[in-house]
Amino acid sequence: MKVAVVRYPGSNCDQDAFHALTDDLGVKADYVWHEGTSLAGFDAVFVPGGFSYGDYLRCGAMAARAPIMEEVARFAKEGRPVLGACNGFQILCEAGLLPGALMQNIEQRFICDTVELQPVNRRSFWTAGVTRNIRLPIAHGEGRYVCDPDTLKRLQDDDRIAFRYAGHINGSTDDIAGVLNEQGNVLGLMPHPERATRAILGNTDGILVLQALCRELAAVEAR
């Protein structure tokens, strides 16, 4: 079982993700360049944060059209675990794998902080291990989640809001910090679970989210 950490020009959380996965969670991981066209040998995808393509045009816009994204879309469709954090969330939205979009924070400030998150969905494998409010780092200028009212109602009715901020952080619609796709196997979130996976970082709550990968992949192996 192995996790693909996709690298785009401008990714800067790729190494954090790699080390969180390999050192702190004990799962295998490897980098995959965005121009790659195959995810053969991988079982899950981590789309890391950063400033892919310099955030030009829109955050995640160009990265979402990179060659590797066809494979990421295939993984998403096949029900395999796909996680996008921060810029990764923006990329998954731009790629149409998650609904909505991320816009500039309501106060136009880049926010670098640790915030409290409330798990909303309790049924997806991504959130099943998060049984209490958690605290995770955020670092974004464009994290205001927006979607049209119909989409919001669908997200609420279908239990696809993964996490809400426990407070008004960046102006997100319904204080949404993370959403799931229809099948529940694709999670996008603005906070950084990969930055909170060992005691020396002062916070290990990220483990509660990332552990989902271990459980899900173990289940896949058992099948």
Binding site: L57, A101, Q108, G171
Partner: protein, 78 residues
């Protein structure tokens, strides 16, 4: 070669936080007639053939979730 101008604007229903800040700055400068500011993007493309510009807008230049676009002709091919 024709140049085509694409004007990308935020959907009216969305809050333009940068536009709001600019509006407040203008008001503080004494331009009290300003009620709202919306900031968009202008993208100029020089293309050998303009027939697929709308497709380019749909696929990359604009995000239909949050933006509208309009295509304007700037110069015509000779």
């Amino acid at each position: 070669m024709p140049t085509v101008r694409v004007v990308v604007t935020l959907k009216p229903s969305l809050l333009d936080s940068a536009g709001r800040t600019v509006a407040q700055a203008l008001q503080k400068m004494g331009y009290t007639e300003v009620e709202d500011v919306r900031i968009g993007k202008v993208i100029e493309l020089t293309v050998a053939d303009e027939s697929r510009v709308a497709e380019m807008c749909d696929k990359l230049l604009a995000n239909p979730v949050i933006e509208d676009y309009a295509i304007e002709q700037v110069t015509v091919a000779r």
